[in-house]
């Protein structure tokens, strides 16, 4: 029965994921004074793409076909294993923070391989940039989560929630780690100021350039995977700030309903804030990204160092 709660969580996250993308697009459109498409459009788009014809490049090899599935697999894995709706530790310690970072890196690696496979300059450019971001973001993420691990004495993310919420007041240095984690989340999900998710202009593209050759069902899978990643990061940050209401292993119907409601609320608020953030800052030049990434890394390191100092 204890595994059931993770299936519930995974299903809810998977179902909510397209809503997150739709929500942030709708909010952004409103901020920009446009009417905006319905937040539920991504669901329709997903189903449409599944039915469309796929155009596969002649130069593509088996990697091109394998990549979307691996990318989706890593996204679904984190959706099932992290404490998003439940605070219970999953079996086998699957929510270990280093494993989390490595699984995300695995997804990025396959996305990069898929982008390079057709052999276009666009794909290569996006792949090179994405790989740079992924390999330099990983240190910041591990360092930021290490601060939570040290404070909560637990290397599983479900245990780290104990250091979040109200106990952030006792360990104010963790706020720095949280900020670093936010910067990491923006970079991992190809959002402002790292990447512009709404453009097809080669100077600014990272993520979109990589998946340019994908169409039909493969594109649907990759878009779903990015939505899941966005949802996971949003809920993870939300849960580190507000670690309730979360399900325990034993669940009641009303408890589940309350948690799902709260999760939707958290997600919508997070997406609203993301849209606000994206509407109020410009995108950074890619070749200034080392400032952003080293900034995130050193903020995370400072968070870890200061929280060590604050511990008895």
């Amino acid at each position: 029965m204890s595994v059931f709660v993770f299936f519930l969580q995974g299903t809810v996250v998977l179902l909510l994921a397209p809503l997150a993308t739709g929500c942030v697009r709708w909010c952004k459109a409103r901020f920009q004074g446009r009417h905006g498409a319905s937040p539920f459009l991504p669901y329709v788009r997903f189903l449409t793409l599944l039915r469309k014809e796929m155009v596969i490049a002649e130069t593509a090899s088996w990697i091109f076909h394998a990549a979307p599935f691996v990318v989706l697999c890593t996204a679904v894995f984190v959706a099932f294993s992290l404490p998003l709706l439940t605070s219970a530790p999953p079996p086998g310690g699957l929510d270990n923070f280093i494993l989390f970072a490595a699984i995300l890196a695995l997804g990025s690696v396959f996305l990069v391989l898929g982008g390079l496979d057709p052999g276009t300059a666009f794909g290569g450019m996006g792949a090179s940039r994405e790989m740079t971001l992924a390999s330099l973001v990983e240190p910041a993420m591990i360092t930021a989560l290490a601060a939570f691990a040290v404070v909560s004495d637990n290397s599983a993310i479900s245990g780290m929630l104990a250091a979040g919420g109200a106990s952030l007041l006792q360990h104010p240095a963790l706020v720095l780690s949280l900020v670093a984690l936010g910067l990491v989340a923006l970079a991992e999900n190809a959002r402002y100021p790292v990447d512009n998710p709404a453009t097809h202009l080669e100077l600014t593209m990272v993520h979109e350039a990589m998946i340019l050759e994908y169409s039909g069902a493969y594109l649907a899978i990759i878009e779903l995977a990015s939505s899941i990643r966005l949802t996971v990061f949003a809920l993870l940050l939300a849960n580190l700030l507000v670690p309730f209401p979360l399900l325990a292993t034993a669940i009641s119907f009303s408890g589940a309903l309350a948690t799902i409601g709260a999760t939707v609320a958290k997600l919508v608020i997070a997406m609203f804030l993301l849209a606000l953030w994206e509407s109020s800052i410009p995108k950074m030049r890619f070749y200034r990204m080392q400032e952003y990434l080293s900034g995130a890394f050193f903020i995370a390191l400072a968070g870890l160092a200061f929280s060590l100092l604050s511990l008895p």
Binding site: E53, T59, I63, F69, A102, A105, E213, A305
Partner: protein, 663 residues
């Protein structure tokens, strides 16, 4: 008792078989002799590997094999540490010998097959004997067999560049060996060629300064063999020059023998060292890791990239060892154990994936006739089966789950995070630096390996050689798959393997602390793998069911203009962001402007060279040393003036001087 005798006889069979393989290789003239020699090498080493593996299940700390009374009286024997390294040597030699059957045959025109087979087997024999010999004389003898055999193997293709690289290698390895000899003499306190037990006795009574000086000498000796920065100059020159199956052995195995020597010295011969020694190891380890990985990211040659990645991995291993030494000196036994177990585990993993990757590089170079990544591309299309193995090995090398290397690094980081609260400010600072540097290195390692695989295998072929490449023979691909499966197995079975490698089990600490088991209990690799595999299968099934569209093959989106391979991203382009971000370390391009018309300095033709090689900077330092040496020898030449009386005077003076010193 029967288990012990069968282990001992297995090891004897292995040693004899290796020797015999060398003889057969040297004497046989036909292609058949080459095959027999390699099969013999593969089989005997497989038996040796099984024997070493069986030793881990035999409940004995030391297994004496044979007592030698010739030259240096000692008893050859196995303990857990030497069994582990013997296992690495024999296992990897067995796989590379299988690969060499076909590989060397196809390269018959480049290499002299007879001498190559003979010396390769001697090289393996030297590496097998080093961990078995617990005495200074024997250790140094077999160390030299290994070094000199590999010196000849580096210049096996008899090209000028190879000969130059081989002599650079010879110089460095002999410098290292003389430092080792000096260190051992210093520890032995005058006894010539003691065995290790006597050496440890002497070391216990030596003064602190002597110990530290001897440690510095030994660390230089082993560190230069392991390719630690700043003694690494020879490694990216020599390793890529050898035939690929030898490069695999040099990178995958010989560097581990250097690690074995270092661990043997630090853990068994020297008394507990002060913190400063551990800090030196940690510092050089981190420096090697960082510079190694940065060069692996920006290099364009397939084998040089792998050589730099070896520097990085050895740097990581020495970081783990250094941190373990620091933790031991500070009384943090938990971290000391975890870091050491992680180092041993990473050593095994590195042996597996680096051997595999060098063999992959050999197959690719043979298929495409190119060493440069820029002239490859499209191999995933022309040799799909082979690229599956290559891809898995590259993922293993980037320390991603579910492969073994990930769990080694995971345990190390977990150990650091777990002990961050304990210890004083200085130790916490050190741990923080180590944590930050190791995660940065492992992040960049992913970049390097993705570049290696993707630029070589994906996209459209960028040279006629790459376009006409064929799927390698099954005999070449089979060893690669074996290694890929081994790398995966190391990941899935990592808790069991790690508990075998825990220092308590390896015989370094007396008490059997269950630290490693506790740490590995926190994350189950098997569950993670099964969950990933199950999700992947379900995803594929669901998408297949839901997807109702058709598929069409077409050329890539080309914006109305034909796309060709010249527009693809190359290795140089792919690594451009990293080269730019780290331009303070990799000084990165020079622009040469030549005037089109000599009289007009304003209109110039600019040519740009991208070079990202700090070894130039190190080479200038080495250059100064070389110039001083040359000057000194020029001065010494004046003694050679051809007057007999002067020579007699010199001999007399030397005699008087030595008498004064002796008395």
């Amino acid at each position: 008792m029967t288990l012990h005798t069968s282990i001992a006889s297995g090891i004897f069979v292995c040693l004899l078989g290796t020797l015999l393989s060398s003889l057969v290789g040297a004497c046989g003239r036909s292609a058949g002799a080459h095959r027999i020699s390699q099969i013999l090498l593969a089989l005997s080493n497989a038996i040796g590997a099984l024997a070493a593996l069986a030793f881990f299940f035999a409940d004995t700390p030391v297994l004496p094999l044979i007592h030698l009374s010739l030259l240096f009286p000692t008893t050859l024997g196995l303990d857990h540490l030497s069994a582990l390294f013997f296992l690495i040597v024999t296992g990897m030699s067995s796989v590379t010998a299988l690969f060499a059957i076909h590989y060397v045959e196809s390269e018959r025109d480049t290499y002299n097959v007879r001498s190559l087979d003979c010396i390769a087997a001697l090289f393996v024999l030297g590496m097998q004997m080093v961990p078995l010999t617990p005495s200074v004389a024997g250790f140094m003898l077999f160390w030299e067999v290994m070094s000199i055999a590999s010196f000849f193997l580096v210049m096996a293709d008899r090209k000028d560049a190879s000969i130059k690289a081989a002599f650079l290698y010879l110089t460095m390895t002999q410098l290292g060996a003389s430092a080792l000899l000096a260190g051992f003499f210093l520890l032995g306190d005058g006894t010539i060629f003691p065995d290790f037990a006597a050496l440890a006795q002497h070391a216990r009574t030596a003064s602190d300064d002597t110990i530290l000086f001897a440690f510095a000498l030994l660390f230089f000796g082993f560190g230069s063999k392991a390719g630690l920065v700043p003694f690494h100059l020879w490694l990216p020159e020599a390793h890529p020059r050898a035939p690929s199956h030898i490069s695999a052995l040099m990178s995958g195995v010989m560097l581990k023998i250097a690690l074995y020597g270092f661990l043997r010295t630090v853990l068994f011969l020297l008394p507990p060292l002060p913190v400063i020694a551990g800090m030196a190891v940690l510092a050089l380890g981190l420096l090697s890791g960082l510079l190694g990985v940065l060069h692996a990211v920006v290099d364009r040659d397939i084998k040089r990239t792998l050589a730099f990645s070896s520097i990085e991995n050895l740097g990581l291993i020495f970081t783990m060892v250094g941190l373990s030494m620091i933790a031991r000196a500070n009384g943090l036994s938990v971290l000391a154990e975890l870091a050491l177990a992680a180092a041993l585990f990473h050593a095994v993993n590195h042996a597996i994936f680096k051997t595999g990757l060098f063999l992959c590089a050999g197959a690719i170079v043979q298929g495409t006739h190119a060493h440069s990544l820029e002239a490859m591309g499209g191999l995933a299309k022309t040799m799909p089966r082979f690229t599956v193995a290559f891809c898995s090995l590259a993922l293993a090398a980037s320390a991603l789950p579910p492969f073994g290397a990930f769990f080694g690094e995971w345990m190390f980081l977990e150990g650091i995070v777990g002990t961050l609260k304990e210890g004083g400010m200085m130790l916490q600072g050190l741990l923080l630096v180590a944590l930050a540097a190791v995660v940065l290195i492992s992040g960049l390692a992913i970049f390097a390996m993705v570049k290696l695989f993707a630029i070589a295998c994906l996209g459209a072929p960028r040279s006629p050689g790459a376009a006409h490449a064929k799927e390698p023979a099954a005999l070449l691909t089979a060893p690669l798959f074996a290694l890929a499966i081994l790398a995966l197995g190391m990941g899935l079975l990592s808790p069991a393997v790690l508990s075998f490698l825990s220092p308590a089990h390896v015989g370094i600490v007396a008490s059997r602390l269950p630290t490693v088991a506790v740490a590995t209990g926190r994350l189950s690799p098997l569950t993670a793998f099964l969950a990933l595999a199950a999700i992947l299968l379900v995803c594929i099934m669901l998408v297949r069911m839901a997807w109702s569209g058709r598929r069409r093959l077409s050329h890539v989106w080309d914006c109305g203009q034909e796309v060709n391979a010249g527009m693809e991203y190359t290795a140089t382009a792919f690594s451009a962001p990293i080269r730019f971000f780290f331009r303070f370390l990799l000084h990165h391009k020079t622009v040469v402007a030549t005037p089109v018309v000599p009289t007009n300095p304003w209109i110039v033709r600019q040519s740009m060279t991208v070079h990202a090689d700090t070894s130039i900077r190190f080479a200038t330092i080495y250059g100064y040393v070389a110039r001083i040496l040359l000057w000194l020898s020029a001065q010494a030449k004046r003694l050679q003036n051809g007057i007999v009386q002067f020579y007699l005077l010199l001999m007399f003076l030397a005699l008087v001087l030595s008498l004064i010193i002796a008395v």
